[in-house]
């Protein structure tokens, strides 16, 4: 785990390499170092962290989508990077608006991101630009909508409990 100082050093190198506006914020909370990046800079930043950095992070431990409804920008993508050499972890986050939900794909850097990006696309509708095969992975191919978004109806059927037995229409049938 890079400490708070190490995190600031990484952020400074990123700002110098990618551009001053690439890093939005850094946070060091409960021992976890996290960088927050602008969405278009994610591809370049991860490439820098993967290849060019003095302290490379060569392994993508996981990739998540997230919906922060009703905050704006709503959607988020989280990357957890791992340096197997130094046993250090680094979180990278970015936030996206629903209308422009697109981040660069990192499959060429981390082949393991392939299915995880497809899953995030499937459930949150986030487009990964440059992904070789961006299709649904868990839901059926012809499914409509992205079910893990917070404004997606939960589905299923109304269940009869004693507290709502008189509110459900024709519940006795």
């Amino acid at each position: 785990m890079p400490d708070a100082t190490g995190l600031e050093l990484i952020a400074r190198r990123l700002r110098k390499q990618i551009g001053a506006r690439a890093v939005v914020a850094t946070s060091f909370l409960r021992g976890q170092a996290t960088l927050e990046l602008r969405a278009p800079a994610v591809g370049d930043a991860l490439r820098f962290l993967h290849d060019d950095s003095q302290e490379p992070f060569d392994f993508l431990a996981s990739l998540h989508g997230c919906d922060y409804f009703p905050e704006e920008p709503r959607l988020g993508v989280h990357y957890q990077l791992l340096s197997r050499e130094r046993a250090e972890r680094l979180g990278v986050r970015t936030r996206l608006r629903v209308e422009a939900a697109e981040v660069p794909s990192v499959v060429d850097l981390y082949p393991g991101a392939d299915f995880q990006e497809r899953e995030v696309y499937d459930f949150f509708g986030i487009n990964f630009a440059g992904h070789p095969d961006l299709r649904r992975i868990l839901m059926p191919e012809d499914y409509q909508g992205h079910p893990q978004r917070r404004d997606f109806p939960i589905g299923g059927e109304p269940v009869l409990f004693t507290h709502n037995e008189h509110k459900l229409p024709r519940w006795y049938e």
Binding site: L138, M139, P140, Y143, P147, F152, P153, I154, G155, G156, E157, V159
Partner: protein, 203 residues
Amino acid sequence: MDLKRAKVGAPSKQRIGRLSAQQMLRGELSDPELEAYVEQRLLTTTLEKAQNWARANAVWPATFGLACCAIEMISVVGSPRVDAARFGAEVFRASPRQADLLILSGRVSVKMAPVIRRIYDQMLEPKWVIAMGACASSAGMFNNYALVQGADKFLPIDVYVPGCPPRPEALMYGIIKLQKQIQGEPDLGWRERYRAEGTEEVA
């Protein structure tokens, strides 16, 4: 004289037991002997009843597990404690063409439903379905977008076994119930059983 006639009229059990089918077919038996022999050795029934008896005691399930209930389903066949072989239901067939019974053992997802339906359509008549556990019967605790809310939305189901998961004994009880149903029902396909004539797919 009366005593003697009675002796001839009702041959002793030991004598009937010693008579053979060969003697009967050769016509070597006297009339009272033949009658007693037929009463003791033969059973008359209808073809349908005999067929259903045979079917009920050779229900071959398809090798098909969906989720955690499948582990309990396996222990119905695999463990000597609940030995499904005692009821003729131990041969899990790997091909739906050879199976009579589809046990839906677990939750049915929206993506899996067409696959299950295809397996069911590939099975030959007569065929039966057991919905094992809360999920296959009514989606259980998964009241959401991903699961079919009860497999009876796309399949005719004969026996519902409750439980999460049901104990192997419960599934065995369901299979025995199904066997009783097979013996009790007239020999009908599922379309007749559920009055679903006219729903055949025309390719």
